[in-house]
Symmetry: C2
Subunit: 326 residues, 2 copies
């Protein structure tokens, strides 16, 4: 029997919650220790409709289940009142391949595990007394990243810039419950000038953040770029920063900000960097000095999906949720 | 709403039926005409349990839906009474990425579309008066390939060889309904000596069929090899045959029999071959003379999955089958 979980049921199991931090940290640690089979992402483009489907998969050694995830982005959808993101996760039995569950999360679990990765990046790389956050972009991740940062740092003020001003107003209304001062900025530079942690969350195809704007002590989490042509940071930032940490080096070389630094011959494609999981295993590999500029490059990994799908399924079984189909 | 279809419901919609031939032919034609986005297969190995999950996907331009398929093989399963194959297909809306349906087919639709591809290969490449079939292997595809051949040729006798003799007895019992004479052979060579169409259906990692055994006029469909290390035919066969036709040239170079001919320096990796879809579009590209030896190399393509998933969904909607989940 396969258990089908609807989005409503999934939301009863999983929210943006501090308890998810150690679960996603464990996934990154496994990835860093090579305890994982994680093939390259399958990407299908539907150019006709400005759409794409990505498939990610990861098996973590020793675990009794693994996930395969389909995540779609159809960028004309908002025009017809549909969200651009969609997708599902499939949970399979590691010993038999039997499909235990299908999580019809429509991208919700991806949103959550991505935000938690942002919290983890800030936990290990930003200065512990950081209170001021800059957010570039005003979509769902802009909100969730800010909320996730509040799980690990005492954030009192957020500065936001986004291309679409109506989205900024929406963002400010949505984020009220967090009890954080919000200031909308007219330029990205204004955001960067005033924050201690910067999170970039856009699908931009040209850099929005310049190297010369960066102040000492800043931590940047760049999570918008998850495809070859996407690029939010001036590639010089990757070269000049004191510490660059990818979620998965093999992925950021192709899909992340690092990709553009390599293409611009600023960084060698053979250059080695510690991954986020290595920093979690040994925090001394993280920020060294208060004045360091640190960058975490998040492209999204299959191990995060496997971790959150397993957690959701476990809670759903406990709560006796789902529809069984043979 | 997503419509979940169980295996029982899927079997009410689709069987090994002549009507599927033009549907799968159309898919191959689209592939040959570059009307398709079909990324490389994602393959996740679970070495600990001798298992693997493959993901295939294809979008055919102009169609309102496309499929993403997960197909797993866990080769220890028979020891615990489970089939080694498993999987599902996901049908997505081409304009929005919305998930229309999940087909919990456990590999059934893959079995059917693979057998139909074998029928199509024989239809265009074997001599029309072929009556004698040789089957190597005695698994599910051995049975289905023989049954599918009966849709396009007047088969009166089948010769079979497989490594496991108990599987051969099972095969013979299962195939009775087809009203075909069956002869079990002690050696693969005996099979090859007596047939006009040969279908190889094993996961062998070393060649079972030697070049010097082949008689003039033989057509071979090699459908067992769908992974880099799998190899059923003496690589010399690919070099020496009169006509070699891949289902997808980019795939057979990596996963099919062609891969081994290239690795053995018998064929250049730049050598061009017409694909099955091109032969369907222009049958004069198929068999030229009665005495030609022809080979069709089937690795399985995402376009076949998209075609059969669409067909299943359409019939299921007509029959009002399935469970809707939001």
């Amino acid at each position: 029997m396969t258990v089908i979980l609807s989005l409503d049921e999934i939301k009863k199991c999983i929210g943006l919650d501090k308890q998810l931090i150690p679960i996603i940290e464990e996934a990154f640690k496994n990835l860093a220790q090579d305890k994982v089979s994680m093939p390259p992402i399958l990407r299908l483009d539907i150019e006709e409709y400005h759409g794409e489907s990505d498939v990610k998969a990861a098996y973590i050694q020793g675990l009794d289940s693994y996930a395969i995830k389909v995540a779609s982005g159809f960028f004309n959808n908002p025009k017809i009142g549909l969200p651009s993101s969609n997708g599902l996760m499939i949970l399979l039995d590691s010993k038999t391949g039997v499909i235990k569950s299908i999580l019809l999360d429509k991208g919700y679990l991806t949103d959550i595990r991505t935000a938690i990765a942002g919290a983890i990046a800030a936990k290990y790389l930003s200065n512990p007394d950081s209170k001021k956050v800059g957010i570039i972009g005003a979509g769902i991740q802009a909100k969730l990243q800010l909320e996730a940062l509040s799980l690990v740092r005492n954030i009192d003020t957020a500065f936001i810039w986004a291309r679409k001003k109506d989205k900024v107003s929406e963002f400010i209304a949505d984020i009220k419950k967090l009890n954080i001062n919000i200031q909308a900025c007219l330029l990205p530079e204004e955001v960067v000038n005033q924050c201690e942690i910067l999170v970039t969350t856009t699908p931009s195809k040209s850099p929005l953040i310049k190297n010369e704007w960066l102040k000492k002590g800043l931590h940047i989490t760049a999570m918008g770029s998850d495809a070859e042509q996407k690029n939010e940071l001036d590639p010089l930032i990757i070269k000049d920063c004191d510490l660059y940490i990818p979620d998965s080096l093999s992925q950021t070389k192709i899909l992340g900000e690092l990709n553009h630094a390599i293409k611009n011959n600023l960084v060698s494609s053979n250059q080695n960097y510690n991954e986020l999981g290595e920093v979690i295993l040994d925090p001394s590999l993280g920020r060294k000095r208060k004045e360091d500029i640190t960058v975490c490059d998040l492209t999204g990994t299959g191990v995060q999906d496997t971790a959150i799908a397993r957690q959701t399924y476990e809670i759903a079984m406990h709560l006796k949720l789902g529809t069984s189909v043979d």
